[in-house]
Symmetry: C2
Subunit: 322 residues, 2 copies
C-alpha cells in the first residue's frame, strides 16, 4: 500500500506554478500566501461527510467537483476571487482508482477557477472531506450578510429546487422517470459555483449568501445579521427545469427550502436594477427579483396574487433529529 | 436537540474583537483576514480522527487543546505568528457537555496565542476535527524545509519520546507505573506548540519542521526538500524525563521515531550557535545540537562514540498497514 506521503505526491502535488499570490505550496509545514495590495483574504471551510452530504459509494469524480464547488460558492457569495485551497481527507483505505478520479474532478474545477491546492492532510478514517478555500476581495467591497438595507430588492441567481427534486427521487419520496432523475441528479452532484457573478456584483449588490441549506433558511441569515425583515413572492422563485414540470405545491416547497442549490441570493438598492441585469448578462447567469427588504423583522411569504402564504418547510440542519 | 446554528452560537461564537488583522469573523459566508504590510500568510491544515489520532472517549478538554496545538506547531515550524483559525467538526451527536469542555480547552490555548476562531462548519458524522490555522511571517523570513545548507548544525527543542512512552503504556507494549503513565500522558495529551521559539528563530535558523511523526522521518523531509544529507548523534537526542529512566535501546528508539513530540527540529549556520542559545533562553525552551547537515544524501545515525548505528524504526504513516 502506498504511504501517506506517496499518495499526496501521486495525486495532489502538481508542478508548482508559483502564482503571483502563492510563495510556497504543498510540502512544507505551512503554505505561504499573499493577497494583493488593498485586498483582504476571504476564508471559508466546509466539511463533507459520507452518508450525510453525499451517498455512500458516490461517484468520486463528481464528488471531487462538488466538495470544491460548495467552497467556491462561499467565495462567490462574498464577491471574492478564488486563489487557493487546502484539502484534508480521511479515507477508509488508500484506493488509488478512487483517489485518481476524485483528484481529477476536484482539480479540473480548481483549474477552471485558477484556484491552487496549497496544502492539506490525509489520514485513515471514515470518509470525510474538509476543504478550506481562500479568495481575495478589495477592502470594503465584500458582499457581507449584514449589509442589507430596508428597501433593497432581493434577487436570486439561476434556478432552485432541482437538486432537492433529485434527492426526493433517490429517497423515493416521489417517483421520477429515469431521464428526469438523471437531469436533476446532475444539478445535485455537480453544482456550479457562481464565482463570476459574485465578482460582477462587487460594488453593485449589498448583501449576499449562497443557497446551500434552502432559500428560506439562508435568507433568514441575511435578515438576522442585517436586523431587517423581508417579503418574498414564492411564485416568483425560479424553479429548475425538472421541478418546473411539477405542481405548485411541490414547486413552492422545493424552491423555498430545497437545499443544495448553490445559487446566490443577494440584495441591492433599487437603483442598481439595471446594473444587476448587466452583471448577470455578462456572466451568463439568469437573475430573478423575488422580493423586498423591509423594516419589519421576519420573513413573509406571498403568492403571485400578493396574498400571504403559510408554507411549512424546514431548512436543512445537520443536527436536526431525522 | 439544539440546532447546528445554535451549537455554533453557544460554544464557538465570542464577542468579535475586530482584531487588527480580522475584519469579519464567524457568521458570514467567509471570514475576512488581512496580513500586515510586508507579511505573508502562513496556512496549515490538520485533521484528527477518533481512534487514529486520539483514543475513542478521549477527555474533551485536552482534546480541544491538542487539536489546536498541533496546528499552532506547524506555524511555529514556519516562524509564523498565529492570527486565526477555522474549525470544522463532525460529531456523532450534539453532546453539549462534551462540546463545552472541548471548546474551553481549544479556546484557552487560542487565547494564550491571540489566535481568533474566525469560521468553521459543524456536521453530524464520525468524530472528526479539522482545523486550518493562519499566521503571518515577514516575506523571506519563513523557516522553510528547503533551506537547509551543508555545514548547518541540526538542533532540536525540548525533549523527545515521552509521548511515545505514554502510548506504549496505553497499548501495553511496556509496563508503566501509574505516576509515570500519568506524567508521560500529559506530554501526549497536551503538547506545547513552540510558537515563541519559532518566532525567535526568524533570521537565525534556516530550515525547520515540527516533530509530529517522529524525528527520523520528519528530518528526512528537510533533507529531501533541501537536497542534502545529515548525520545525527542518537545518544545526544534529549529524552523526556520519563523516558530518560529507561534503557538505551528504548530511549534511542523513542527519541528517534516516537511521534507526537511537537518539538521543533531546525538547522542553522554554525555561526548562529550563540544566537540560538539566546533565542532558546529568552523563550524558556531548551535546545540541543544533535548533528550536522552534509552533502552526502541520506540520514546517518551514530552513537555517542561516533560509530555508525543501525536502528530499525518506522516513522508514523497514517496509511501504513498496521
Amino acid at each position: 500500500m502506498p504511504s501517506e506521503f506517496q499518495l499526496i505526491a501521486d495525486y495532489f502535488t502538481r508542478p508548482v506554478r508559483r502564482a503571483e499570490r502563492l510563495a510556497l505550496g504543498v510540502g512544507d509545514d505551512c503554505a505561504l500566501l499573499t493577497p494583493g495590495p488593498g485586498m483582504q483574504l476571504a476564508v471559508s471551510t466546509d466539511m463533507l461527510v459520507e452518508g450525510r452530504h453525499f451517498f455512500a459509494g458516490a461517484e468520486p469524480r463528481s464528488l471531487g467537483h462538488k466538495c470544491l464547488a460548495v467552497n467556491l460558492s462561499d467565495l462567490a457569495a462574498m464577491g471574492a476571487k478564488p486563489l487557493a485551497f487546502t484539502l484534508a481527507l480521511a479515507l477508509p483505505d488508500a484506493n488509488e482508482a478512487w483517489l485518481a478520479e476524485f483528484a481529477q474532478g476536484m482539480l479540473a474545477l480548481a483549474d477552471a477557477h485558477g484556484c491552487e491546492l496549497i496544502g492539506g492532510d490525509t489520514t485513515r478514517g471514515p470518509l470525510n472531506i474538509c476543504i478550506t478555500v481562500f479568495g481575495e476581495v478589495p477592502m470594503a467591497e465584500a458582499l457581507r450578510r449584514d449589509h442589507a438595507q430596508v428597501g433593497d430588492d432581493i434577487w436570486i441567481s439561476g434556478t432552485l429546487g432541482d437538486a432537492r427534486l433529485a434527492l426526493a427521487g433517490y429517497l423515493n419520496e416521489i417517483e421520477l422517470d429515469s431521464a428526469t432523475q438523471e437531469e436533476a441528479g446532475k444539478r445535485m452532484h455537480a453544482p456550479t459555483p457562481r464565482v463570476a457573478l459574485g465578482l460582477a456584483l462587487r460594488g453593485v449588490a449589498r448583501a449576499a449568501i449562497d443557497i446551500s441549506d434552502g432559500l428560506q433558511g439562508d435568507l433568514q441569515h441575511i435578515l438576522e445579521r442585517s436586523q431587517v425583515g423581508a417579503t418574498i413572492d414564492v411564485d416568483a422563485l425560479p424553479a429548475g427545469p425538472m421541478l418546473a414540470r411539477h405542481d405548485t405545491d411541490l414547486r413552492r416547497r422545493f424552491t423555498l427550502a430545497g437545499g443544495d442549490d448553490y445559487e446566490l441570493c443577494f440584495t441591492a438598492a433599487r437603483i442598481k436594477h439595471d446594473a444587476i441585469l448587466v452583471a448577470a448578462r455578462e456572466t451568463g447567469v439568469t437573475v430573478t427579483r423575488i422580493g423586498r427588504i423591509e423594516a419589519e423583522p421576519g420573513l413573509r411569504l406571498t403568492g403571485r396574487d400578493g396574498e400571504p402564504l403559510a408554507i411549512t418547510t424546514t431548512s436543512f440542519d445537520h443536527f436536526r433529529t431525522p
